[in-house]
Amino acid sequence: MKAGGDQALEQTAHFLGQRFPSAEFRYYVGSVGANMRHATPEDADRVARECDAVVGTTGD
């Protein structure tokens, strides 16, 4: 993750939570890589199992 991306996602969740109070939010970070964390196929499968929608950012 690049700097600032995590703050953008936290604000996104905050905003959506106000608009859709019953929504649940989970944060994921890819399990490989360095500052650029990448989702493995297993990571993607897990997210697809656990979520109905995804909002993401690399930071730029």
Partner: protein, 451 residues
């Protein structure tokens, strides 16, 4: 995000306005024809928390729309650069020189040029170029990311002609393309970055002399003596652009760029090296000809006219590795560059060009390359506090939960790279004590040249 879309999960990507085209192009290349994007005016990087909050709040309607409606944002095929289906193009002028100028102007408009004049790749010239290798024109050498272009021998020959190569240069170019397509190189990462990743080509073995690839005076510089170096390096960049679709401003989002991205090719000065050549160190026979490609970020000089002691020389060299403005400095604290598709990862390795004068100083005192690397590793150290100045603490936590104690001991000195083998050494240059240090992006790949 593409992988989630492929699994049927709707997504929205936060994208800075300057990167929208790149995001859409990437999605299309990676198998999703359209992508829901929430645009913000600037990247989140380097922004104050309140500014991030304001940018996000101002664009939340795009997030909601993206999650509830089919994405509208879509690129037309070829948008951002031009592709043609005609196998042969014709350009006219009052004479051949003017026709060549017309071709060059058109190729500039289509984004096919590196900015310098291109040699027209006429069918005759391409045919002549193809005689430089025993492979069939339609043989596929690689699939090049990010655009997944098929790198046939013929396409490589076309770009070699445009770069000014001679037929005998083609096998080196083909091998360099094989190198950059290896999964371990993770070309997508280097071709599409905001960083100035440049493929440094090192040629070893008999072919270097046969082709006149300069290994001596001004080997990495301009001039007639570096003609082969210049055109081979240039051809690889053109291939990355015209076959891999690494077009600047389209998929190559390099913030500033670097002159080393135009061309970066050199041979090792094996005759003046007191050590085994680079390729022999990597398991090849001295009589084998090889090409090594190592993506690098930039370079600085290793200047020292004074030192006669190996200890002093290496002490100065080690300061080059301690540059906080370079990505690989302490990068290991965040983990390794990795491509999840192939399950490969790589250390950040540096490439050191040691001049013959300095090599002899080391050799006089019995230092081989292994000793130099070990001494570099031992001496190139910085405090945890400094190494983390430009690093993401969350990435450090994910990569090294066992090292979190360092936050309580921030003056602890740490090596700037992961291990001693993160330093590669080749002898290049002429007389006088000046070498070069290249900050590496990942590690090198070496392959034997096929003719």
């Amino acid at each position: 995000m593409v992988e989630f879309e492929k699994r049927g999960i709707p997504t929205v990507s936060w994208v800075a306005s300057g990167f929208t085209h790149d995001a859409l192009r990437s999605a299309q290349n990676f198998g999703v024809p359209s992508l829901a994007v929430a645009g913000v005016p600037l990247p989140f990087t380097n922004q104050m928390p309140n500014d991030i909050k304001e940018m996000v709040d101002a664009s939340m309607d795009q997030v909601i729309r993206g999650l509830t409606e089919p994405p509208e944002t879509m690129l037309m095929p070829g948008e951002g650069f031009t592709t043609v289906s005609d196998p042969v193009l014709a350009f006219e002028g009052s004479d051949l020189l003017e026709a060549m100028e017309v071709m060059n102007r058109r190729f500039l408009e289509w984004k096919w040029s590196d900015g310098f004049p291109l040699v027209p790749p006429t069918p005759e010239r391409v045919e002549r170029m193809l005689r430089g290798i025993s492979r069939a024109p339609q043989d596929v050498i690689a699939t090049l990311e990010p655009g997944f272009g098929l790198a046939t021998v013929e396409k490589l020959a076309v770009n070699a002609v445009m770069a000014g190569c001679r037929p005998e240069h083609l096998p080196v170019l083909v091998t360099a393309v094989q190198c950059i397509s290896e999964p371990k190189i993770y070309l997508r990462n280097k071709a599409m970055s905001t960083g100035p990743h440049a493929p440094l080509i090192l040629v070893n073995g008999p072919i270097a002399k046969q082709l006149g690839i300069n290994s001596g005076v001004c080997a990495l510089g301009p001039g007639s003596i570096s003609y082969a170096n210049t055109v081979i390096g240039r051809a690889l960049r053109l291939v990355m652009m015209n076959v891999g679709f690494t077009y600047p401003g389209v998929s190559d989002m390099d913030t500033i760029g670097s002159p080393i991205k135009y061309s970066l090719c050199v041979a090792e000065n094996e005759e003046e090296s007191p050590w085994d050549p680079y390729h022999v160190e990597r398991g090849f026979h001295p009589d084998q000809s090889t090409v090594t490609v190592h993506f690098v970020y930039g370079t600085c000089e290793l200047h020292d006219f004074q030192s006669r002691e190996a200890e002093d020389l290496v002490h100065g060299f080690s300061s080059a590795a301690c540059n906080l403005g370079q990505v690989p400095t302490g990068h290991w604290l965040l983990g390794r560059r990795a491509d999840p598709r192939y399950g490969v990862d790589e250390k950040e390795e540096h490439f050191m060009i040691v001049c013959p004068e300095h090599a002899r100083v080391f050799q006089r005192q019995g230092w081989d390359k292994t000793r130099i690397k070990e001494e570099m590793f031992k001496r190139a150290r910085m405090s945890f506090r400094d190494l983390m100045i430009a690093r993401e603490p969350k990435s450090f936590l994910l990569a090294h939960p066992e090292l979190q104690w360092l936050w309580d001991s921030p003056d602890t000195l740490l090596p700037v790279v992961e291990s001693a083998d993160c330093y590669s050494i080749a002898v290049v240059g002429a007389a006088a004590g000046r070498g070069a240090f290249f900050w590496g992006a990942g590690g090198p790949i070496t392959k034997e040249v096929e003719r």
